[in-house]
C-alpha cells in the first residue's frame, strides 16, 4: 500500500515536470505574442516591456530562469499584461471560488446521479429505468451553454429570490452548481447503472437473495460497493475538472472562478499564467487520481494484492 503510494507520487512528480516543460515550450510556439494589441505598441515601449518581463531573453535562459524560480522560490512568475500581479495571486483568489462551486456541484451530481443509476439498475427495463436513462441522455447531450442560460432565464428571471448571475450571496451558488451538477449527474447515473447491473447479476448476489436477505439490504450492503467502482473511477478526474472551474459556467453566471483564466490566458498569451494554471491543474489531477485509486482499492479487495 505504502509502496504503491510512493510509486504513484514519484510518477506524479515526473508527470508534472514533463508537463511544465511541454507547456513552457508549447505556449511560446503559439503564433502571436502577448504584446500584440489593437493599437500598435511603439517599438521603444515594446522593447522596454519585454525587458521587464524577461521575454527578451533567449528561450533556454527563460526556461532555466523559470525552473529556478519555480523550484527555489516556489514562484510561478508575474502576469505579462497586468503589471505587478502574481500568477499565484490569481490562483489563490480564484481557486476557492471554483472549489466551493465544484464541491457543491459534485455533491449534487452524487446525490442525483448515483441514486438515479442504482434505482434504474434495480428496476431494470421499467418506466423508472427509462426515465432515469432519458434524463441521463439529455444531461449528457445538452451542453452547459444551453442548460445554463435556460436555467438562468427560467429560474433566475422567473423567481425573484434567485439572481440570474453573480457571486455575492450563497443563493447565487444554486444555479451554477445545479447546471454543473446535473451534467455530471447524468454521467454518474449511467456509470452507476452499468456497474450495478453488472454486480446484480453476480452469483454472490443470488446467494444473498437465496439466504433471504431483504432487497434493500442486498442492494445497499452487497451490491453497491462493487457496483460503484466505475462511477468512482470517473469521480476522481471529474472532481479535479470541476474544482478547477469551468469557463462556460463562469461566463454564463459571472463567477470569479479559475476556469475563465484558462481560456483568457491562452487568448491573451499570458505565458506565465498558462504555465501556472496547467501546473496547478496537473497537480490536482495527479492528486485526484491517487485518491480515486485508493478509493477503488478500498471498494475492491482484489486490487489490494496487485
Amino acid at each position: 500500500m505504502i509502496r504503491l503510494i510512493i510509486s504513484r507520487l514519484g510518477q506524479g512528480i515526473i508527470t508534472l515536470f514533463v508537463l511544465v516543460t511541454l507547456t513552457f515550450f508549447l505556449v511560446r510556439a503559439m503564433p502571436g505574442s502577448p504584446y500584440v494589441e489593437e493599437k500598435a505598441i511603439p517599438e521603444h515601449a515594446l522593447k522596454r516591456m519585454r525587458e521587464y518581463t524577461g521575454l527578451d531573453q533567449p528561450l533556454p535562459v527563460q526556461y532555466f530562469r523559470y525552473l529556478k524560480n519555480l523550484v527555489v522560490h516556489q514562484d510561478l512568475g508575474d502576469l505579462i499584461k497586468k503589471d505587478g500581479v502574481k500568477v499565484s495571486e490569481i490562483i489563490s483568489e480564484s481557486f476557492p471560488v471554483s472549489l466551493a462551486l465544484g464541491v457543491l456541484s459534485i455533491g449534487i451530481a452524487l446525490v442525483v446521479g448515483i441514486p438515479a443509476g442504482v434505482v434504474a439498475a434495480v428496476r431494470k427495463n421499467t418506466c423508472v429505468d427509462f426515465a432515469c436513462l432519458s434524463f441521463a441522455m439529455v444531461g449528457i447531450c445538452l451542453p452547459s451553454f444551453v442548460i445554463g442560460p435556460l436555467l438562468a432565464v427560467t429560474a433566475g428571471l422567473g423567481l425573484k429570490s434567485l439572481n440570474v448571475a453573480g457571486w455575492s450571496s450563497p443563493g447565487d451558488w444554486i444555479l451554477p452548481a445545479v447546471t454543473l451538477g446535473l451534467i455530471n449527474a447524468a454521467y454518474l447515473a449511467r456509470l452507476a447503472r452499468g456497474g450495478m447491473l453488472d454486480v446484480l447479476s453476480q452469483d454472490y448476489i443470488r446467494t444473498a437473495r437465496a439466504k433471504g436477505a431483504p432487497g434493500s439490504r442486498v442492494v445497499i450492503r452487497h451490491a453497491l460497493r462493487g457496483g460503484l467502482i466505475p462511477a468512482v473511477a470517473f469521480i476522481g478526474p471529474a472532481f479535479a475538472g470541476m474544482i478547477s472551474g469551468s469557463f462556460v459556467i463562469e461566463t454564463i453566471f459571472q463567477i470569479p472562478g479559475m476556469g475563465q483564466h484558462f481560456v483568457n490566458a491562452a487568448t491573451d498569451r499570458e505565458f506565465f499564467l498558462i504555465q501556472g494554471l496547467v501546473l496547478f491543474y496537473g497537480f490536482l489531477i495527479v492528486g485526484a487520481n491517487l485518491l480515486a485509486d485508493l478509493a477503488q482499492i478500498a471498494l475492491n479487495p482484489r486490487l489490494r494484492k496487485a
Binding site: P31, G32, S33, V36, E37, E38, K39, A40, P42, H44, A45, L46, K47, R48, M49, E51, Y52, D78, K82, D83, G84, V85, E89, I90, E93, S94, G107, V111, P149, A152, V153, G156, L157, L159, K160, S161, L162, N163, V164, A165, G166, W167, S169, P170, G171, W173, I174, S216, I220, L224, L228, T251, I252, F253, Q254, P256, Q260, T267, D268, L299
Partner: protein, 541 residues
C-alpha cells in the same frame, strides 16, 4: 459507505436549505443600490490595472474617470472640455501653442495632500520616461520635445515643454498651435498621479510599481477605491477630500467585469445592473419590444472599416480598391448587420464642426467600369482574395454580406479567413493579409485621432499605403492656428485618403446599451465618458 438513509436525509436537508438561501434576498440589487446611492455598471472585463500611465483601454478609462481628475473635465451638457477640473482654467496664448494651467487652491489628493503643479509635471515626466515603457506616451507628444525625450534622443526633461511656475501654475509649451488642446487634456494620460505616493513605492521609471494596489492607491477624483476583488467587482466610494465633494450625488460606483454580453443583459433584466456596457443586436431587438425606454442608441466616435493590403496585387491598383468600395451597399449593411450604425463614406465620424468629405457612395455601375479598366471585366481573372476577420460574430456576418455584394455586383469571389484574435492582429501587423476587418475608436474629439494613423511609418497604418500630399496637408494643419482653416486642411487630407482608398469605411459606430430608469443625468456623449459626479439615482422609477 452509502446508505439509503443518508440519501434521503441529504435530499430532505438540501432542498429546504437551498430554498432558504435563495429567498434571503427580496429587494432587487438595483433597488437596494439606488437606495444606497451606488451605481452598478457593467464594465466588460477585468481592467489591466489602474495606473493611468500604464493602461490603455476604454474599460480602464471608465474606472480611472472616477479616481482621477484631469486639468479639465468634460461638461456632460455640451459634451465639450470645460474648465472646472483640477485646474480653474487652462488658457492659451495668441498662437494656441503655450497654455497656462491655473490649479485650484483647494485641490487635494484622497490622502489629504494638496494637488500641485509639481504633481502634474512629475506625471508628464513619468509617462515620458523611456524606462517606464508606457505604450500610450504618444498622447503627450503634443508637448514640445516630448517625443525626443520619450524615444531617448534627449535625456534632460527640462527640454520638454513643461514648466512649474509656482505651486499652482503650470505652463505647457506645445509642438505647435493646438486650438483643440482642451479636448486632448480630457484623456486620462493627462491626469496627474501623486508624486509623493508613486515615489514612496518605487522609482519614477519603474514598471510594476505597487502604488496602484488597493491598499496604496491615491487619486484626486471624486471617488476613491473602496474594494477590488479581481473578476468580481471594483467599487469606488466618495473621496472626502475632493474639492467639490459637497456636490457629488452618487455615494459610489460598482464596476462589474461582465465579459458575456448575454449574461450582462440577463443581469440587467433581473435587476442587477443600472447601466450595461453594450447590447447585442438580439438584445436591442428584444428591448425595443419590451422596454424601449431602457435602450440607448447613441453615436460614438468609432468607425468600422476594412483595410486593404496595398502592397499586394491587385490591391495595389487604386481602381480595384475604389471598385470594391463602390460595390458595397453600406445602408443595407447598417440595416441588417449593425443595429443603429450609420453608413460611413469616410474614416472620421462627424464631430463638432468637422464634417468628413463625402466622395463615393454605393455605385455599382461605376464599380464595374473601374474594375474593367483595371483589367478584370466582370471579375474575370480576378484572383481569389481573402477577407481576414477575428472570431467575432458581427465580423463574420459583415464579411458574408460584403462577400455577397462583391460577387453579385462585380463577379469577384473572395474567401473569409477567420483567425483567433491574437493571430489576426499579428497577421495584420505583418501585412500578411489581403483585406482585413478593422475598427478604430477615437481617443479625443478631434479628426486628428482618425487621420494621424495613416501617416507613413505609423504603427496603426498597416495598409502599406502612404501619400506625400496627405502628409503635407496634415503637417500644414499642425501649424494652423485658425480652427476653420485647420478643419479645411484636414478635410482635404481625408479626401485624399478616401480617394486613394487604402481603406474601405463601412459604418460609423453607435453604442447600444441599457440604462435603468432610476439613473438620471446619464448623457449621450460621443466618447461615452459620463463623469460620475453628475449622475443621480432616483428611487421608485
Amino acid at each position: 459507505m452509502f446508505r439509503g438513509v443518508t440519501f434521503r436525509a441529504l435530499f430532505l436537508i438540501a432542498a429546504p436549505v437551498c430554498w432558504l438561501l435563495a429567498s434571503c434576498q427580496k429587494e432587487s440589487q438595483v433597488d437596494r443600490a439606488t437606495r444606497e446611492g451606488i451605481l452598478l455598471v457593467g464594465n466588460a472585463n477585468e481592467p489591466k490595472g489602474l495606473d493611468p500611465h500604464i493602461v490603455s483601454g476604454v474599460l480602464e478609462a471608465n474606472i480611472l474617470r472616477a479616481l482621477f481628475e484631469g486639468l479639465i473635465t468634460n461638461d456632460p451638457e455640451s459634451d465639450t472640455a470645460t474648465p472646472g477640473g483640477a485646474a480653474l482654467d487652462v488658457t492659451p496664448d495668441a498662437t494656441a501653442t503655450v497654455w497656462t494651467a491655473k490649479l485650484r487652491p483647494d485641490g487635494k489628493w484622497s490622502d489629504g495632500a494638496p494637488v500641485t503643479a509639481r504633481d502634474f509635471a512629475f506625471s508628464y515626466e513619468r509617462l515620458l520616461t523611456p524606462e517606464l515603457g508606457a505604450k500610450y506616451a504618444e498622447m503627450l507628444y503634443f508637448l514640445k520635445g516630448a517625443e525626443e525625450f520619450n524615444k531617448g534622443k534627449t535625456t534632460d526633461f527640462a527640454a520638454v515643454g513643461v514648466e512649474v511656475l509656482d505651486d499652482l501654475t503650470l505652463r505647457l509649451t506645445l509642438r505647435g498651435p493646438t486650438p483643440y488642446f482642451r479636448e486632448i487634456l480630457k484623456h486620462y494620460t493627462w491626469t496627474a498621479v501623486p508624486q509623493h505616493v508613486v515615489l514612496k513605492h518605487g522609482k519614477i521609471g519603474q514598471r510594476g510599481n505597487p502604488w496602484t494596489r488597493p491598499e496604496n492607491i491615491v487619486g484626486n477624483g471624486p471617488y476613491q477605491l473602496k474594494s477590488w476583488r479581481r473578476t468580481h467587482h471594483i467599487e469606488v466610494e466618495r473621496n472626502p477630500h475632493y474639492w467639490n465633494a459637497a456636490n457629488v450625488s452618487l455615494n459610489g460606483v460598482r464596476f462589474l467585469p461582465i465579459t458575456n454580453l448575454y449574461t450582462e443583459a440577463r443581469m440587467f433584466r433581473d435587476g442587477q445592473l443600472h447601466v450595461t456596457y453594450a447590447a447585442t443586436s438580439e438584445v436591442v431587438d428584444l428591448m425595443k419590444k419590451e422596454h424601449p425606454e431602457n435602450l440607448r442608441q447613441e453615436p460614438y466616435v468609432g468607425t468600422a472599416f476594412y483595410r486593404y493590403n496595398t502592397t499586394r496585387k491587385p490591391l495595389n491598383d487604386v481602381r480595384v480598391r475604389q471598385a470594391l468600395g463602390l460595390a458595397v451597399d453600406r445602408q443595407a449593411i447598417c440595416d441588417t448587420v449593425f443595429r443603429g450604425y450609420k453608413p460611413a463614406y469616410a474614416i472620421t465620424p462627424a464631430m463638432g464642426n468637422y464634417h468628413p468629405p463625402r466622395i463615393a457612395g454605393f455605385d455599382p455601375e461605376k464599380a464595374k467600369r473601374l474594375l474593367a479598366e483595371a483589367g478584370y471585366p466582370g471579375g474575370k481573372g480576378f484572383p481569389r482574395l481573402k477577407i481576414l476577420i477575428a472570431s467575432k460574430e458581427t465580423a463574420a456576418t459583415l464579411a458574408q454580406a460584403v462577400q455577397a455584394m462583391w460577387r453579385d455586383t462585380l463577379g469577384v469571389e473572395v474567401e473569409i479567413e477567420n483567425k483567433e484574435w491574437n493571430a489576426y492582429l499579428v497577421a495584420m501587423q505583418d501585412l500578411d493579409y489581403d483585406i482585413a476587418n478593422a475598427g478604430w475608436i477615437g481617443d479625443y474629439l478631434d479628426p486628428l485621432t482618425f487621420l494621424e494613423m495613416w501617416t507613413p511609418g505609423n504603427g496603426n497604418n498597416l495598409t502599406g499605403w502612404e501619400s506625400p500630399a496627405f502628409l503635407k496637408l496634415l503637417q500644414q494643419s499642425f501649424q494652423e492656428t485658425d480652427g476653420t482653416r485647420r478643419f479645411e486642411l484636414l478635410q482635404q487630407a481625408e479626401s485624399i485618403l478616401i480617394e486613394e482608398a487604402p481603406i474601405l469605411p463601412v459604418a460609423w459606430q453607435s453604442r447600444n446599451y441599457l440604462v435603468h430608469p432610476s439613473v438620471q443625468g446619464w448623457k449621450p456623449l460621443l466618447l461615452s465618458n459620463n463623469p460620475y459626479q453628475f449622475i443621480r439615482l432616483v428611487p421608485g422609477r
